[in-house]
């Protein structure tokens, strides 16, 4: 494949206007670089299925990251009660941790709901409602996260 062919570019250019009957005029413009970003450069055009994919990925990574941290923190149990209680209660006393836990809940809830949606997609069930079920997952996630704030922040202030 000759190197001088261009690949995909999003070009925003100074434009030539060719009115009916006039001759074409020529103007130069710059082109964007190719690269990984180019796919995500089009994020405004993503459809429901694409967003679901992006969010599922993100939440999956957060969860596995959390699992490693979680086991590390719980490992204090090996050192005995005062260490364990001290660490957990020390963490829970931090307001930032409380907020992060709400975030974690939201992440987990979305991953679960969209995960169930994906399981249905895998079974070939309800494919026509795949976009609606994604929006429903989002809305439910939001609602559950908001509703849990009192419980999660309880006693933190």
């Amino acid at each position: 494949m000759p190197a001088d062919r261009v690949g995909w570019h999003t070009v925003d250019s100074s434009q030539t206007t060719i009115l009916a009957g006039s001759n074409p005029e020529v103007h130069m413009s710059q082109s964007y670089d190719r690269g990984l970003v180019e796919n995500f450069g089009r994020w405004t055009e993503f459809s429901a299925g694409m967003w679901a994919w992006v969010f599922h990925k993100f939440t999956g990574w957060v969860l596995i990251g959390y699992l490693f941290t979680h086991i590390a923190v719980l490992s204090t149990a090996i050192e005995g009660a005062s260490m364990y209680n001290g660490t957990l209660q020390g963490l829970e006393a931090l307001l930032i941790v409380r907020f992060m836990e709400v975030g974690l809940l939201a992440v987990a809830v979305f991953h679960i709901l969209n995960g169930v949606r994906l399981l249905f997609v895998d079974l070939g069930l309800g494919l026509d409602a795949q976009d609606k079920s994604f929006y429903a997952s989002l809305i439910l996630t939001g609602a559950i996260a908001v509703a849990s704030i009192p419980t999660f922040l309880g006693g933190a202030f």
Binding site: K57, G60, W61, L63, I64, L67, F68, I71, L74, S75, A77, I78, G80, A81, Y84, N85, L88, Q89, E92, A93, E101, L105, A108, I112, G115, V116, L118, L119, D122, S148, T151, F152, G154, G155, A156
Partner: protein, 123 residues
């Protein structure tokens, strides 16, 4: 051809296990959150409480299964994502065995912790 299909590393096996663990995780993860945020508040957790739960065999087995299923599901998910990004050849082999080792370590540590949490009183 049959022997070809018994290999455990086939892509379809990992695909299926990813879904099977997902089904299991739906239940336990929801249960875990309910239990440790709504039934018991997270800020009230003490080792005594943890021990009381963990020394019940059913709970212990559930948590260890949770640990194993979650680790497989999460790490396999990460591996799939990297394969989708087009990782190949040596880097891929390194990543693959790296992830396997990390998972085994996590599971081992998790079980050690879970055992310590029982306070040696698993009935």
């Amino acid at each position: 051809m049959a022997e070809h299909y018994t290999s455990f590393s086939r892509d379809d096996t990992r695909w299926l296990l990813q879904r099977v663990t997902a089904v299991f995780l739906v239940g336990v993860l929801a249960f875990h959150f309910m239990l440790l945020h709504f039934v018991h508040h997270a800020y009230e957790i003490t080792l005594a409480g943890t021990t009381a739960r963990m020394s019940q065999p059913g709970y212990f087995i559930t948590m260890v299964s949770f640990l194993i299923a979650g680790t497989f599901h999460g790490v396999n998910g990460v591996y799939n994502a990297l394969v989708n990004q087009g990782i190949e050849g040596t880097p891929r082999t390194i990543v693959k065995y790296g992830l396997i080792i990390v998972s085994l370590l996590l599971i081992a540590q998790g079980i050690r912790v879970a055992w310590a949490m029982t306070g040696g009183q698993l009935i």
